[in-house]
Each structure stands twice: as structure tokens, then as C-alpha cells.
């Protein structure tokens, strides 16, 4: 059903995201980790576009790549974590349990995905996510969460500023 373009696009963006995610986790230089996190966000935004959720894709691009990635970079610069540099001999052994747990979870979910019957159904035609519909839903059906998010964001903003503030009042 999908045209050739879509398949190529999915493979390309999927591999980009996974590659960047592996880099974000594995690289030694923390600044490179931060940047590959930004690339992961761009990749995920691309995946949203593939799933016809344009609006969400651009919001993700705007919020994550624009702000969160830069924020992570700032903090990496300020605190200069020398995480991967000191290479104790037992580093390899210490990583093993983490890797095992992560692989275990992956295999379990993979198994679940493969057997679940609901995935056999055919692919419904793409329902374009129209902005007007999202807007109306936000304001009418989901007004409370919208307001709650507003309050949460302002408190988070002020809280974060107070925490990080130098000088005499912010301890």
C-alpha cells in the first residue's frame, strides 16, 4: 500500500533515529551525547511526519530541538561531567546487568508485539490531523488539562529559575 518513497523514508529516518540514540547512549564525549540527543528528537519528529501527525511533529521539533536540546547542552557545558573518561577496569563488567535488563525488556515487548492479533488488521486510510479539529478538541473537550498545563508550566518556569539563580536570594 505504501509507495516506494514512504518505505525508503521510513527506513532512512528510522535508522537515523536509532543510530543517534545509540550514539547518545554510547559516546564517551558528553557534548556529542547531547548533540546526538538533538538528532534523535529530529528523527522522532520525522517519524511523526511519516505518521501524518504534522502538527505534533513540528511542535516536537520546536519544543524539543529548540529548547530542551539546547538546555541539555548548556548544563553539559556548565557541569562538564567527565563521565566516560576515567576507565576503571571493571567498567565492562558493571555495564553487563544494565544491558541484560534492557535487552530482556526489549525481547518481552517484541514477543508481545509479534503475537498480538490486533496488528493483523489492515491499515486505515490516513486521517489528516487538522489544526482546527485539534484546536476545538483542546478548548472544548480538554479545557481542564490545558489550563492545568498552563499552571504547571509557569510554576516549573519560576521554580527552575529560582533553583538555578545565583546570588543572595536563590541559595
Amino acid at each position: 500500500m505504501n509507495s516506494l518513497f514512504e518505505i525508503i523514508a521510513f527506513l532512512l529516518i528510522g535508522s537515523l533515529t536509532l543510530g543517534a540514540a545509540v550514539a547518545a547512549v554510547g559516546l564517551r564525549d558528553t557534548v556529542h551525547c547531547g548533540l546526538s540527543l538533538a538528532v534523535v528528537f529530529v528523527g522522532v519528529a520525522g517519524l511523526y511526519l511519516l505518521l501524518d501527525a504534522e502538527f505534533i511533529g513540528f511542535i516536537q521539533l520546536l519544543v524539543y530541538v529548540g529548547a530542551v536540546a539546547v538546555l541539555v547542552m548548556f548544563v553539559i557545558l556548565i557541569t562538564r561531567p567527565e563521565d566516560g573518561v576515567i576507565q576503571q577496569p571493571d567498567r565492562r563488567r558493571q555495564k553487563l546487568p544494565g544491558a541484560l535488563i534492557a535487552a530482556g525488556i526489549f525481547l518481552v515487548t517484541y514477543g508481545a508485539i509479534m503475537q498480538s492479533p490486533s496488528l493483523r488488521r489492515d491499515v486505515p486510510e490516513p486521517a489528516a490531523l487538522s489544526i482546527r479539529a485539534v484546536g476545538e478538541a483542546l478548548v472544548s473537550g480538554h479545557l481542564l488539562p490545558l489550563m492545568a498545563i498552563g499552571v504547571l508550566l509557569t510554576t516549573a518556569l519560576i521554580g527552575a529559575a529560582l533553583f538555578a539563580m545565583e546570588g543572595e536570594d536563590g541559595k
Binding site: 517519524l47 525488556i105 491499515v123 486505515p124 486521517a127 485539534v134 480538554h142 488539562p145 533553583f163
Partner: protein, 103 residues
Amino acid sequence: MIGLPLFLILSTMLFSLGLFAVLTRRSAILLLIGVELMLAAANLNFIAFWRFGPNPAAMTGALFVLFSIAVAAAEAAVGLSLILVIYRHLRSTNPKEVNSLHG
């Protein structure tokens, strides 16, 4: 054929990578990067189910992702400033050393 299973597998891979990062990395920021990866994987799942799910017009999945992006952004801001304060206090960001409860 790009169906739901492929997207789910992709997001589970992302999720397990995030988990691996959280479990093994020893610096607080890389911990946070792992959490961000897991969040991105979760959002990807939501949108995948919204797209291939029975009733796309309801848009619950998409709206939920909108809210989750906002919350994740706020959480990232607060988390990072926490790390900053801890770093300024303890001069190191290794989560193991953040164990003294006084002060």
C-alpha cells in the same frame, strides 16, 4: 509494508536504549538523556496507535502527546536546574555521591 508492528518495534528499541542509558551511565545529565529517550519512545507509541488505531478522528492519542510534550519540557527544565544546583553544591554530578540528606 510499514504497519503498526514496525513502529512499535522501533519505539521499543528506543525505550530499551533509554533504559540502558539510565541503568549504566554514571553522570546525572546522561541519566536525564536516557529519560528523554524513553519519553520520546512513549510519545512515538501514542502517535503510532493513534494513526493505526480504530478511531483516528477522536485524536485522543495526538492530544495526549501534546500534553506529554509540555510536561516533559517542564520536567526537563526543572530536572536540569536541579542538576545544576547539586553540581554547584557537591562539585560532581555522579548520582552515587548524592547521598547525604542534610543541607
